[in-house]
């Protein structure tokens, strides 16, 4: 349960093993601050069947932790302050996420739509440059590639 006090933005960062299920990080806001939210924006990144030319079975995500967590938090805080957002919730998968499943969810609550849309584009662009997260395609009938890296 998230309640809003004063003008402190709410930031949550969640790295989850495997695909993201129904969001727990981004339940509707309660409390005084909730009444200031006019725009609730949610982006979900879904694993596509094709990676370049090849058909894939899944993506395997890897994070350098805790650096990834800290950079996501820092980035969320920066866009929150810059755009005056009420809440930013970030969820990202680590490990295997099959085609059609969700690996990344960004939830933004703000007073108006314009800042939410701007902040969303900005967060994702910067995440894809700065946050130590990697994905590796898993092809059908692959032996699990992960094992070969644990030597």
């Amino acid at each position: 349960m998230n309640t809003v006090a004063n003008d402190t933005p709410i930031i949550t960062i969640t790295l989850i093993d495997g695909p993201l299920g129904v969001s727990c990080a981004a339940l509707p806001l309660l409390g005084d601050g909730a009444c200031t939210v006019g725009a609730a924006l949610k982006f979900e990144g879904i694993v596509r069947a094709q990676e370049g030319e090849r058909v894939i079975a899944a993506l395997n995500y890897e994070a350098y932790r805790p650096m990834a967590d800290r950079l996501l938090e820092q980035l969320a805080r920066e866009v929150c302050i810059k755009h005056g957002l009420v809440r930013v919730a970030v969820e990202h998968s680590v490990g295997r996420v099959a085609v059609g499943e969700c690996s990344f969810r960004l939830t933004i609550d703000s007073a108006h739509r314009v800042e939410a849309l701007l902040a969303m584009g900005e967060f994702i662009d910067r995440m894809k440059i700065d946050v130590p997260l990697w994905k590796r395609p898993v092809f059908h009938n692959d032996v699990d590639e992960r094992a070969s890296h644990e030597r």
């Binding site: 990144g45 995500y61 890897e62 994070a63 350098y64 805790p66 650096m67 990834a68 800290r70 990202h92 690996s103 990344f104 994702i124 995440m127 894809k128 440059i129 700065d130 946050v131 130590p132 997260l133 990697w134 994905k135 590796r136 890296h149 644990e150 030597r151």
Partner: protein, 81 residues
Amino acid sequence: MKVKVLLFGPERDAVGASSVVVEVAHGASAADVLGALASQCPSIANAVRAARLAVNGEFAQRDRRVLENDECALIGLVSGG
């Protein structure tokens, strides 16, 4: 001194190991560590030139001094989301 550098993503695949130990002089900078890594692992030399070094979980300036027990990580092109 010996400095261990963690590898991730494409660089780990190319080298075939999740970390590499490089030899640098005492007082070496982040740039020195990257240089040693490129020399020692030619298969990722190009990637290293475009990559950043993280020291103890933070992106390091090129002139940042690296100590023997620092946790170093090569952060090449990332691909989250």
